[in-house]
Amino acid sequence: MSEKTEKTERLSVFKTYKLYVGGKFPRSESGRVYEVTDAKGNWLANAPLSSRKDARDAVVAARKAFGAWSGATAYNRGQVLYRVAEMLEGRREQFVREVAEAEGLSKSRAAAVVDAAVDRWVWYAGWTDKIAQVVGGANPVAGPFFNLSSPEPTGVVAVLAPQESSFLGLVSVLAPVIATGNTAVVVASEKSPLPALSLAEVLATSDVPGGVVNILSGRTAEIAAPLAAHQDVNAIDLAGADEALAKELEIAAADNLKRVLRPQAVDYSGTPGTDRLTAFLETKTVWHTTGALGAAGSSY
């Protein structure tokens, strides 16, 4: 080697951001990408520009994962969600950087956002085995019947992640969907998809089964339309849709009576209630005979 080698600045290695579908990291089947910039307009990366076929594939993956995920014990789902928090904590610096770039926040503001996102996973990890005790229960029907109502997950939920809060907002809408046993197809913030695409790397290493969460980046309106109309999607969270788009999607969703959560003003830094958990739950009531009242001489 030459003795005159100057100390040059090391050239960094860029990450190729990809979609997350069925536990794998494909590029968009369309082969398209779009330019993602930071808050000041500087180029950050080329993100996949998903097509309706990517949306279709994601729904298939989510449906396939639904049986095992909804059938897992609530305790198991809680452990998995807590594991997400643990893995996220370990990648804190990466997400602080990505959130700061995406949302134009100072490092300390971004750090607070990431910390809140980690804690949000912990909050929902604790809900998996408690929501049934809060929204379910025994019903004292007037007759010789055991009667119990329990919540069950709705199924495959399309989630349009909030456009502005690209990470905390995303976690706040995604975690409650999967905590109760649904599976999700997420459309990341259109302008700032990179934290969402990086979250996929955390999910993939956190014992979350493939297909439980699927993450697409691209034009929200383009991807949301086929999801809202899809007959094998059971519900849709419109958090990331503007007023006009939300109305259009709600109309499309009526075709198979999807459960629809309309966009609303949310301060994602506040303590969430249970609204987002219960939005995508069905209630099942089971009747079973008990002994008769004894009028005929025997109660059994």
Partner: protein, 483 residues
Amino acid sequence: MDMEMLSSAFEYAPAPESRSVVDIAPSYGLFIDGEFTEASGGKVFKTVSPSTEEVLSEVAEASEEDVDRAVRAARKAFGKWSALPGSERAKYLFRIARIVQERSRELAVLETLDNGKPIKETRDADLPLVAAHFFYYAGWADKLDHAGFGANPRPLGVAGQVIPWNFPLLMLAWKIAPALATGNTVVLKPAETTPLSALFFADICRQAGLPKGVVNIVTGDGRTGAALVAHPDVDKVAFTGSTAVGKAIARTVAGTRKKLTLELGGKGANIVFDDAPIDQAVEGIVNGIFFNQGQVCCAGSRLLVQESIQDELLDSLKRRLSTLRLGDPLDKNTDIGAINSAEQLARITALAEAGEAEGAERWSPSCELPGAGYWFAPTLFTNVTQAHTIAREEIFGPVLSVLTFRTPDEAVAKANNTQYGLSAGIWSEKGSRILAVAGKLRAGVVWSNTFNKFDPTSPFGGYKESGFGREGGRHGLEAYLDV
């Protein structure tokens, strides 16, 4: 091929769990305000391994003065701890749950050494349940507003907790997890014969970075427990143990502001109908009375079998009992371990003798008992009636009393004919009969087509002299909230 070898029986070679995963110190102090300290009087007692009588360690015996020190430490810690956001308390408890999971093999071996129960049970039942209990209540810490006790329910203050020797670490978890989740601080007294896992738990609190004084462990005998329960600055008393001591505690706290929950004895009826899934019922009967050598407050110690299937069921049961493996609790193939103490063994022996003296028919499978340690063979009594001592008194050992019934009404009447009301089992393939009988049983936990199942989400506790208050589930929060 060695035909001779192949024709011999399938003898399981010894498969001992390694003891080297646990490092027991020769002596332990009291864990007060985040430090291990000696007892003020310098008194100590020995804890032994019930399966060998080997001395495992020497443990400090807390005096009244030490208990006072512990309560004051807990009081001091209470302000900050209860003022923490629930989400922060949650994270401490999640840390504890995770460390318990990480150290579970070490703790399982420790528990088996100190208690005498088989490693199969500590490994597959006690430790997973301990971790799950902390995990469950961790999640409640920041959700108390949603628990049905109104907005912002407040903790009580300092909880004095006294636990038994049959599930030392699990009973600790049942006490400490909900107490901390709701914002209380605790002083816990483990049983005299099984103090070690609580002292190891102190080290887990250290690893988790739990603030000093939030958890204090005072070891000792009944006098230490009595001092804790009587301490004027304790706001809450939680006790698991015998009904006699429970009544004494109820008298002690009478007229004070102390909130009390008691989880006491039982004489659980395991009712087997003629349409039961027989093979699973046999397993459930075995699990009901021989799990943890029958030293379980909710044990199915009375088998109520429908007379029409008595012979068939007893034949199956006896055949099954003959396959139980009694011996070294650290052996992974051991089903029945040692009785926890000489004192307990004497009690079981005396009650079994009373059973014989009163005319019940005693049966045990042929099984060799080890020379050292405290052992009692699995035992079955037939021809037992409601009038026999062994059908009424809690034996707390591997002794099953078999009674018969003719009709569901008779089964219910006999099952309820006891001062206890902790648990019951129902075996039938007919859902309506199960639910009807369950509805009429005066017991806090009713299992159907299973037995001795526990889960942190499921409330546990008794009717009548089996105590009051519930541990586990959303209900378990109430005991530690000012509601």
